[in-house]
Amino acid sequence: MMPSDGNKNRSPSPHVLSNLPECVIDEILMRLPLRDAVRTSILSKKWRYNWCRLPHLKLDQMLWKTIEDLISPTIGFTNILCHLLTLHTGPITKFTLDLPDLKPCPNIHHLIYFLSRYDIQHVLLKLPLGNRYKLPSSFFTCLQLRHLTLHTCLIRPPPLFKGFDRLISLELSDVTISSEFLGSLISHAPLLEHLVLEQEVVSDHIEISAPKLRSFFFIGNINLLHLKNVPLLSKVSYEPIAFFVEAERDLAKIFESMPALENLCWNQGYVLGNQAGQAEVIPTRLPSGLNYLKRLYISWFIVREFFELSFALCLIRSSPNLEEIEIKVCNLRDKNYYEPMPQDAVDEIPASFSNMTFNHLRTVKIHNIAGTKAEMQLVKVLLAKSPALVRMLINPCRMKDRKSLKVLAKITNFQRLSSEAQVVYNVD
């Protein structure tokens, strides 16, 4: 009955999967979509309950094969869930529920209760938009949680609950949570290394003290954040929805609380220039300097805009040990939306770098260059001040061909401090 596939070599063959150790079979099953893992129950009697002991479960929209199923999915999902909870045995340490398009949001109270009975360590819930699902009280008894990711839900803990003290990573996106509880959640996680707060999770002032925090991603109003104690924070990605700088100290305050910053990604996407503040209050350099900063990535900033350009230049000048700079320029043509940098300020750009060199800068990438004076000044300065530069990549924005070549010609003539520097200019 068994197909013998011509493997009649010496030694009893371990290549029959059923001879693989159970833990290896589990490792393979855990990496299959749940649907395929469950289907293995029909392989043979021995396999019937193999999937039931898997400690990692992932439920996503792949459970339904056809679009029609997604039209009335909640009933289908509830049946599947009921089936899983009845048959599954043993601990579940990692659970993922990823159903952003399921409507209406199914009742998952009993599921959360089920998870809370074992020492669940890793939870990811991505729930449908619309009515926010309120996490049940059983959720707040999962005190072994190490990794928690929540999208689109309502977090209102029982009165005495302070936090999960074993958390290593916390990601909150588009959740409803009080700033007070968010602060408590963070300050009661002394081991926290990775924090993501996205989409207006922060609605009021919040103080962040996280002695082990290494990476922090934030989309929201930066002025509401106060990083009080983050001595190890080295990787930061900010996407300000609002960002006001009124006094010279304001900008310094944002950065002086991150003494170990190595990687900074500043995504200017949402902020329109005139909201941001006065260019005059941007200092030439940050008083404390970003001496450990190695990689700087700035995206969608309007290079002609006075405030944003001053801000970008300030960051660059404050970071003498940069190894890599990447800039994505946004070309807004309508001058109503921004205050252009005055001509004399543009002319002074090279002079503002006069006393510095970027001894470690190896790579520069600038995307969407339109050939404006300010852009050219920046390119010129970086070429002239970087003795170790290996590669400068320039992707111009769409221009009539001749103009693009003119820009290239200009850049080719700029003096390069590094004899190794190669300028790669991509013309479509």
Binding site: D5, V16, P21, V24, H83
Partner: protein, 167 residues
């Protein structure tokens, strides 16, 4: 990686010998071999000749190739390692099963992860018949029993076409 190896301090590279189940011997630097948790423990207990009764020469050669490449891993050659991994898992199912058994026995976490993911990706969406064939599993259900189990997990068997191919 070498920080956990005491030999790195002396500057002399400490060598170890691995012996396959076919009796072939392979001499390697300790810093490469300690990617295997199993061997690392034996090294800590003072062994320098390590017999591996469960791993034949063919499989061991492949595993050494993996360990050597991954010992070179740095920040800058990620792409190269990725391509190496891609090539590494290209063998037949039988080869993969031999390797995964050995990786499990030797306790090389990275290799386990790589192989299990590759096997899972390859059997994903295969028909029950194809999976039985690939894994050499004999069906011991009676037709009635099989129907019952299928009914029990109806949702998992419904909808879509399953892949009948064996590679």
């Amino acid at each position: 990686m070498a920080s956990s190896s005491s030999s790195s301090k002396t500057g002399l590279k400490k060598m170890l010998t691995l012996k396959s189940s076919d009796g072939d011997e392979f001499e390697l630097e300790e810093s490469i071999v300690i990617q295997c948790q199993t061997i690392k423990h034996m090294v800590e207990d003072g062994f320098s000749l390590i017999p591996l009764q469960n791993v034949d020469t063919k499989t061991l050669t492949k595993i050494i190739e993996y360990m050597k490449k991954h010992a070179e891993k740095t920040e800058s050659n990620k792409e190269e390692i990725k391509n190496f991994n891609k090539e590494f898992v290209k063998g037949s199912f039988d080869d993969q099963f031999e390797l995964v058994s050995a990786a499990n026995y030797l306790h090389i976490n990275g290799l386990m992860d790589l192989l299990c993911q590759s096997i899972a990706d390859r059997i994903n969406n295969k028909s029950v018949r194809a999976v039985r064939e690939i894994f050499n599993i004999s069906n011991d259900y009676t037709p009635d029993e099989e129907e019952k189990v299928r009914d029990e997990h109806k949702w998992a068997h419904e909808g879509g076409e399953f892949d009948e191919s064996l590679d």
